[in-house]
């Protein structure tokens, strides 16, 4: 087939995928500008007079800024810890090809989240940490770290061994190899894993449910508050969702250039 046709076909596919992905999102974002009753209107209304009421309600009824701050602290903290612990581990696992440490770190993701609620509550109460950012950051790191590790593994695997070895011969200690050689080479992977870790921590609400208190509650835990018998605030829910999705999306947008950079590998023989 002609190159040009292949390219057109690709474009067509991208359009199809984009529409499928974006249609519900558009529905949600539009919903955030509708009065609640119209969100569930039938037939769906494309034309309506947009209102900012939902956003106003959001900021009036919920300490949205405070929750955002809580979420940011917890998410950034746990993402950093996750990467800090996960990146070296992924590097070591990839180099040694001994997988069990990576599997162990995934253990916390293998159990239903509810399994941890009571024991962790007991544990962190004993430590006097219930209601602190610390407890949330630590428990969220249990989610972010395995993601960082597993997402990075294939990237580290793609680095030719001999490059790492030559750094060793150059007198580089293993941690330094990680820092100076491996990390720059897996930059796109680091970006992907950081985004994913961020999103997972950002959207995780179960642990915050018991380990935070009114003051450290995260945004996502608060987003449930718009649903309930007696008052389901559809518009506000959509508005909250739109706002909640924004920070991770912004992050993704800022670093997306890195996502498509590709590895710098290709300068070695064999």
């Amino acid at each position: 087939m002609d190159e040009r046709w292949i390219r057109r076909l690709n474009t067509l596919q991208i359009v199809v995928v984009a529409v499928l992905i974006l249609l519900p999102i558009a529905w949600m974002v539009l919903g955030s500008f509708k009065p609640s009753a119209q969100v569930t209107a039938y037939p769906p209304r494309l034309f309506f007079s947009p209102t900012l009421d939902n956003y106003r309600q959001l900021f009036e009824t919920t300490p949205f800024a405070a929750y955002t701050w809580n979420s940011l602290v917890v998410t950034v903290g746990s993402t950093l810890i996750g990467l800090l612990l996960g990146v070296p581990a992924a590097f070591a696992v990839s180099w040694t090809r001994i997988t069990w440490p990576a599997t162990v770190t995934l253990l916390a993701r293998m159990a239903p989240g509810t399994l941890f609620l009571l024991p962790w509550y007991l544990l962190f109460r004993e430590l006097g940490m219930v209601g602190t950012y610390g407890a949330l950051i630590l428990t969220h790191a249990v989610i972010t770290m395995p993601i960082a590790i597993w997402v990075l593994l294939p990237f580290f695997d793609a680095i030719p061994r001999s490059v790492l070895e030559s750094a060793q011969v150059d007198g580089c200690s293993v941690p330094r190899i990680l820092w100076r050689i491996a990390l720059p080479l897996v930059m796109p992977g680091l970006v992907v894993s950081a985004i994913l870790a961020f999103v997972f921590s950002w959207n995780y609400f179960l642990f915050a449910l018991v380990l935070s208190n009114g003051d450290t509650k995260t945004l996502i835990a608060a987003s449930f508050n718009f649903i309930g018998e007696g008052a389901t605030y559809w518009g506000a829910l959509m508005a909250a969702a739109t706002l909640i999705a924004l920070p991770p999306l912004l992050l993704a947008f800022v670093v997306q250039r890195r996502l498509v950079a590709g590895l710098a590998i290709g300068a070695v023989k064999g």
Binding site: A41, L117, V130, N213, F224, N225, I227, G228, E229, G230
Partner: protein, 410 residues
Amino acid sequence: QAAPGFNWRKHEGKTVTFLVNNNPIGNALVKLKPEFEKLTGITLKVDGYQEQQMRQRLVTVMNARSDEVDLFMSLPSREGMQFAKAGWYADLNEFLKTAVAKDYDLKDLSAGMVADATYDGKVMGLPLNVEGPVVFYRKDLLQKCGVAVPRTLAELEAGAAKLKACDANVAPFVSRGLKPAAPFTFSVFLHNQGGSYMKDRKSQLCSPAGQAALGQYSRLLKDFGPPGVVNYSFPQISALYREGRAAMAFESSNELRNVMDGGARLNDTGIMPLPAGPGGSKPTVIGWTLSVSAHSRNKEAAWYFLQWATSRAVQEKMALEGIAPPRASVASDPDFRKWIDELPVRREWIAALNALSQTGISEVGYPIVANPASREPIGQAISELILGQKTVAQACADADAALNALIAKE
């Protein structure tokens, strides 16, 4: 019977934490928090969650015997016995004797609801509101199709059939089909059919009344409900009715605000209790109660809040937010009356609620400790019937078997 020397400011400077359900009741109460703090000098820390989440948090905190929560909301009709048995509620009797303000009138509170929250003679919570399922119906549609407002369950069913023939775009009747939610509305059918859940510690779903109720409830939903009603709970029901796609909706009285949102249904809606059946009219009435945690270290300060929250002054204010009051006297409050009279639909609404309070019972599911679990087989039977997977006899027999096992475990 005011306690001598009662002083609102006795616990000034203390902090109590209130695990609150983020429903309209909890929200209305929390709105008044500054008044409480001003009155008592106690700091109220509000920790609000949506219902299921609140329950999850409560279970965790209480199981850990933590003093983190001083006050919490619960539904006696559902989990009251379980919580009482687990010893999570603080006994309020002592406070009711020794630490009540002069103007606090316990008797004014719905006696039934207080009784519901009393276990082994110990009062373990006081009601914040009353609610129960009521029928929202479209006066205009009924009229258009020549259907009279039904006065019996049989008329309801017949009317539904007529509505169906008359307007194909509208679901004649809708109520809860979602398994865990359905027992709430189904219970009224059971009771109105003259049935009850349990007799001599045996499940009664296969009794004639039980079968009649199951059959009728599922028939109504299956034949006259919207497609997909098996997954319906309050959000879908309210939305459907609000959109004008249902002629009758049997839903919680709390949904009034949702149903009226947008204003489309303001003028064509009537509200009434479920029509009577062979067993008469025994509507369900329940309510949220406020309790002090048994693990609280500030029980008395927490009690102060409880007392304040259930006082007439506060409940009057909540009533203006649309919270049906569990206090008879509030009904005569001029401000409240004025609020009621603003819209005809409010008048019907409060009338229906009054009927509920007077004749209603709080039995939703089995009167056993494992009440939440007992709702499961009921819902299961209803689902199966709606989906046409079983006959009534099969469904009730399976449910009874499961329920008898559950009862036997107690």
